[in-house]
Assembly symmetry: C2
């Protein structure tokens, strides 16, 4: 995979002369992304492309090439791969569609390509792929612009949607491998690479179907001992499975079998499109959770009830809180205020100010051995005169990091205060209470898995 992820030199076979709108010019995008290696555009109709000398054929380059990116119409791809093989190129990405994702002719072409590659010791990524992204040594073969943030999250996917839409899916992406139709390089090699990569702390996988299932599960079991692997398996429904078969030519198989095997291997399975980002953020920033007893601190009784419903839905329970744990809030609350879990601190806040109440409440909960994790609910106002309700810094000061603390904010400035709250990456906010509760539940599962495998060893 190293040739694909950090090549010294790249030939782009079928580099387009157009650039700007509608060009989908991947050389332009590669340079914009900051690639520092040598780029050799190949196009018999061009002398120069974006200031780079263009070559009529790959054989004319006359220098060592780590990686070929083949961006040709499908009828020309086999010839292109043959030429790459003839000059000793050992790695090629085939961008275009129209192979196993299309008709019978395409399926045959894809098989032929793999045969040529195998005969010549060449590895193929794709077809039907944006290729790779590596923000750490800036390189991408995507013809769509991508973010270059060096996040410790590696993505393996079967569609460019997870590259271009990474903010909506994995939330962030420092390295990415789009295996596309997975004609040669598939999940196993991609996961081996990212699993062993010290830059990557969480791997997020989009999977339509996996061919070498047993091998993948055994590999995943090894990786998940060291770092979390989040899997979004699509094609769950019957109709979805049929669509997956047509899209990437994958055998989707029964979702129940995937679910059982992936869970057994310690993967964090996500079912809905919003969950991937939440899982990545929770597993990246928060510690696994030792038990399922949650304390909720809230400035609104109604919010506490919504949280209670959501926690129960995901198999978590409300921690019983001792008198000692409640005492910092009790001493500041009016005597008539019934206190429990959820812990409604609002009457105390009205009397003594939020700065005095909220951090002390959180500290007491985190100290209580019967509390495994905390969900904080707070209001986030826009108006400067209500800025005094922001306790982001104070809350961060009392979080040590051995128990997960998640937060949900409401009010016009939820995003702004959310950023402040997350600044130290100790408290993580979620856009809905549902998501905050779900995030805690996967941290619980992660810890249970780690305990299970440590008993086994």
């Amino acid at each position: 995979m190293k040739r694909f992820m950090e090549p010294e030199s790249v030939a782009v076979i079928g580099a387009t002369r157009k650039n700007g709108p509608n060009a989908y010019n991947l050389v332009e995008n590669m340079l914009r992304f900051g690639y520092q290696g040598r780029v050799f555009p190949v196009n018999p109709q061009a002398d120069k492309i974006l200031g780079l000398k263009a070559f009529p054929r790959v054989g004319d380059i006359g220098q060592a090439i780590d990686l070929a990116v083949v961006n040709l119409p499908r009828d020309l791809v086999i010839q292109g791969i043959r030429e790459c093989a003839s000059v000793g190129i050992k790695a090629a990405i085939i961008v275009g569609q129209g192979f196993a994702d299309a008709d019978e002719t395409g399926k045959v072409m894809q098989r032929d390509i793999v045969t040529i590659a195998k005969t010549n010791g060449m590895r193929i990524l794709g077809p039907n792929t944006l290729g790779v992204l590596n923000a750490f040594r800036p390189f991408t073969t995507s013809f769509m612009p991508l973010s270059r943030k060096t996040a410790p999250v590696g993505v393996i996917c079967q569609s460019g949607i997870f590259f271009v839409g990474s903010r909506k899916f994995s939330g962030m992406m420092g390295k990415g491998i789009d295996i596309g139709n997975a004609s040669d390089i598939g999940f196993n090699e991609a996961l081996t690479y990212l699993g062993e990569d010290p830059d990557i702390r969480v791997v997020a996988i989009h999977m339509e179907g996996v061919d070498q299932g047993r091998k993948f599960i055994s590999l995943a079991s090894r990786i998940t001992c060291k770092k979390p692997v989040v899997v979004f398996k699509t094609g769950k429904s019957e109709a979805g499975a049929r669509a997956a078969a047509s899209h990437s030519g994958s055998m989707a198989g029964s979702y129940q079998i995937y679910q059982a095997a992936l869970t057994q291997a310690g993967c964090t399975l996500v079912r809905e499109d919003w969950q991937m980002r939440d899982a990545v953020r929770a597993l990246l920033y928060l510690p696994p959770m030792k038990g399922n007893r949650i304390a909720v601190i809230t400035v609104t009784g109604a919010g506490g009830i919504i949280a209670t419903d959501a926690l129960e839905k995901y198999g978590l329970t409300l921690a019983p809180l001792s008198r000692e744990t409640l005492s910092p809030v009790a001493s500041l609350s009016p005597p008539w205020m019934p206190l429990g879990n959820p812990l409604d601190i609002w009457p105390a806040v009205m009397k003594h100010g939020i700065q005095k109440v909220y951090p002390n409440a959180l500290k007491a909960l985190l100290t209580d051995p019967s509390v495994d994790g905390v969900l904080c609910i707070n209001v986030a106002m826009n108006l400067p005169v209500y800025a005094f309700l922001d306790v982001s810094e104070e809350l961060n000061n009392v979080v040590s990091g051995n128990k997960p603390v998640v937060a949900w904010l409401y009010g016009e400035n939820s995003e702004g205060i959310g950023e402040k709250l997350e600044k130290e990456e100790k408290i993580i906010t979620f856009p809905t209470i549902e998501e905050a509760a779900w995030a805690l539940s996967i941290l619980r599962k992660r810890q249970a898995y780690l305990e299970r495998i440590s008993r086994r060893e």
Copy 2:
């Protein structure tokens, strides 16, 4: 309710002399909100409050008062209500906590207050409430700052979180009634008011528990014939129900019973906190859906599969698409491209440009009698050179409004392009595919309900 929602004159009993941070000064907030009526602060320690003459007691005002807002510590509230009654005030909002939401003493106090009110022909909103919000004739009794957007959405709730957090819950709020502990005015009067209010097109309700359940259901049945009523019933779990009993003193009751009765009455029931906003937006802007057959247009095969899974989850199916419907896309696609539903237009887009493909695809689907609704998936790029992928205007031009069209965008500029797409309020975007599918499902339920009641009549 009119006295509460659009009073000509308001006495604020217990108006604070403080303002700015930590004051929670509701007179300050009322004036900032733009209230144009007369405000009489009552505070024996003040001569003036925010430039307004202050009165030692309500009896000293000597003018007709439509509404009293009682903002006193609980031990002083009964006396305050007595004084209001003695000068003939017929409507009072009791802001403070510490009544049925607190201890036995509080419960007794609340009963006494109601008795005094009934004896004097006075109506009570609260206790334990932010009161009301009316953006149309700007008025609020909230001590927290609120948005003044005149949205056609009315909110009834049992907690100020739905006022302050309206962006996260109902999404928007033009009028709001926080019934708090509902000691006197409850769901029925609030729903009657907003149900008949021509400014309000959708009512969104947060409900912990309702006392006069039968009456509410019969009332809701009448209102839902005319306008959608969205209900977020909390306290679903056993622990949640206990918490609800303590928060607003409500009897939460079995969620199954609520679910059956509310659904029968034609309410749109939401189970999770993110669903309220989606339901309101869908029901406000989109037409009810005549059947459950959905067409998906997508620029990514993987997105189509995720959509297929989500649609099936919510009881919707993929519409079978005729050759005629597919022909505008087929004629622009490479011959090898398999077309169906989800309709993957990407190869056609690459060949002919998105402007030529996407609007024609959408138009053909909307014309097909076997399609009841459409889900559009598109990419939303930030980089100006990729702005050509934005087809917001072109898509709006082909939507007539008799079938719902929802959209999901991915990419760095999802919010920006989303706003453009929604400009005419004909295509509504949702932050996740899950939400887009769920929104379509409630539009289906709405239509089924309307058909059921029209058959009955």
